[in-house]
Amino acid sequence: MSPFLAGATWLLLFQCAGEAVSHVLGLPVPGPVVGMLLLFVALRIRDRIPDSIGVAADALARHLSLLFVPAGVGVMMYFGRLTGEWLPIVVALVVSTVIALAVAALTFAALARRAEDTQAVAPGTEQ
């Protein structure tokens, strides 16, 4: 069997499991996100990523942006509201996204540098 088909089957099964867990426990988190966490735990327990799952996940990740196109086209249903409130919406989306990108990148870079500095020093201080 093609590794892609086997891998895609596993991804769907984990999605089903995620949907089931999310539904039964009444979680606010959608099934696929729970499925991702379940698959992650399973991969960590096995300590190895099966080729089939790797192939299928990589194929989907490569064109992840395609999968958002149908939802994006939904913009056409809201032209009325968007033209009425276009200024607050556009300014909020653009400015907030730029600020969030800058804050997140600066925070991560600064914290990562600090974490790596202390980790690099730690073995030396043990001696």
Binding site: P28, L39, S65, L66, V75, L93, V95, T107
Partner: protein, 246 residues
């Protein structure tokens, strides 16, 4: 063929799910070809090109979104397994990610708070309606999660999906310029910021540019989605109590 029979054929094809599926793929493949031709220039985002092309076609052909979505849902459906599959790059990178627990948790907390507060604050200051504010709140979270959150806090699910996709496109298009401007060269930081602020579309962009950036983007995207689904409705309720709007 008479023009009448061509018209009948058009009506027949436009009403089948095949048309919606085909136009989605044709628009994306074309958008991606332009993106490649432009050396992956962030402003030539393939999602943006595809959405503009499809909306234009549907408007010109007077086709309803529901008719289009009957076909496009097959592409939309793959979002589920694709999100599940994000566990794979995460599992691959886990040994390194684990050592960066503090940067990951700290950036997640600060970044998600900033994304939420600035979006709602700016739109509120410029006079957006409460329904629009509630739909804007989860804009940095991936569309399927944003829809669920918006519904719980009094927004419109479909509008939240549109804002989320728009945010993803804006983040993917502007990320490079923002990171260069603030002088962050670390691929992990750039990727993490893209995934956090611009969810799946930012993650897709990160994977296209650098595999390490992609891995950290996927990590941020997944964690932000899970965190926001639990925390954002609670924060929203607290903010309502604080401002006296019960």
């Amino acid at each position: 063929m008479t023009s009448e029979s061509i018209f009948e054929l058009w009506v027949y094809l436009a009403a089948t799910p095949l048309a919606g599926l085909a136009i989605t793929l044709v628009a994306y493949v074309t958008g991606y070809a332009i993106y490649t031709k432009a050396n992956l220039h962030p402003l030539a985002n393939p999602v943006l090109i595809a959405v503009i092309a499809i909306v234009t076609c549907l408007r010109v052909g007077d086709v309803a979104y529901g008719t289009y979505f009957a076909g496009a849902q097959f592409v939309h459906f793959l979002l589920g397994p694709a999100v599940v599959g994000l566990a794979v790059p995460l599992a691959r990178a886990w040994p390194t990610v684990r050592r960066l627990a503090v940067p990951v948790a700290g950036t997640l907390a600060l970044g998600s708070a900033v994304a939420l507060a600035t979006a709602v604050g700016i739109a509120w200051a410029l006079g957006a309606s409460p329904e629009t504010l509630a739909s804007l709140a989860p804009k940095s979270v991936t569309a399927p999660i944003a829809m669920g959150i918006a519904e719980r806090i009094g927004g419109v699910a479909a509008l939240a999906a549109v804002f989320a996709v728009a945010t993803g496109i804006i983040g993917a298009a502007l990320g490079k310029f923002v990171f260069d401007a603030v002088g962050v060269r670390d691929w992990r930081a750039r990727g993490f910021a893209l995934g956090l602020a611009a969810h799946g579309i930012g993650t897709a962009r990160a994977f296209q540019v650098n595999p390490e950036a992609g891995t950290y983007a996927g990590l941020a995207f997944g964690m932000h989605g899970a965190l926001a689904a639990f925390v954002l409705p609670l924060l929203w309720r607290l903010a309502q109590l604080a401002t006296g709007k019960l």
